[in-house]
Subunit: 120 residues, 2 copies
């Protein structure tokens, strides 16, 4: 997040930077705490907020600093390579419009050690 | 927030510590960024998340580290002394179940300099 931004401002700005698209009316659906653990200690801790929208303007970039970009059909999203915790987040958000809260604990090479999801 | 907590965990724990009440099914309604400005510089920046619930168990403490506690009728809440930005937050949350996002800029003695609310 940049100074003075709220989480919705950040989501809109970052989506634009990383995809070229201007999303409209993003709705907050998930609030998460991540811990990266190294030898029993917390090496890093951060938060992530997940928004949902079906509305945007603009054209998808072919690539950005994040890599190559492509549209993925909704029913194929869960088959894509991603961190295990992210798959749980997609699974919830693609099937419910209720807020999801959670904590995920990862190793430094992104193996999921523990998760606590609400609703579980 | 304590290590590994998500924002809902924190809200439940802090509400219990500061009031003695166990709140049930709190729903996230607002996500805010606060900046405290001193001589044109940001002296402090933090986030606040506001939850709504009408359900709880337990008995209200008479006082806690936060001060004396009392129940306030909903139609008197906006007349209580509070930071100006907090009044805007209460005004929205008591009249709408839509998510509110915002940024508030304060002086170090909590005078509101600027605010950006979405929806405004």
């Amino acid at each position: 997040m940049e100074p003075g931004e709220n989480i919705k401002d950040s989501a809109v700005r970052e989506f634009k930077e990383e995809t070229g698209l201007d999303i409209e009316n993003p709705e907050l659906r998930g609030s998460f705490t991540f811990i990266m653990r190294e030898e029993e200690k917390t090496a890093q801790e951060w938060m992530m907020f997940t928004f949902y929208t079906t509305s945007y303007t603009g054209e998808l970039l072919e690539e950005s600093e994040e890599g190559e970009l492509e549209w993925v059909p909704v029913d194929e999203v869960l088959n894509k390579p991603m961190a295990e915790g992210d798959r749980e987040i997609f699974r919830h958000i693609l099937s419910s419009d209720h807020q999801l809260y959670g904590t995920f604990v990862y190793t430094t090479d992104f193996q999921l050690i523990d998760q606590d999801l609400d609703p579980s």
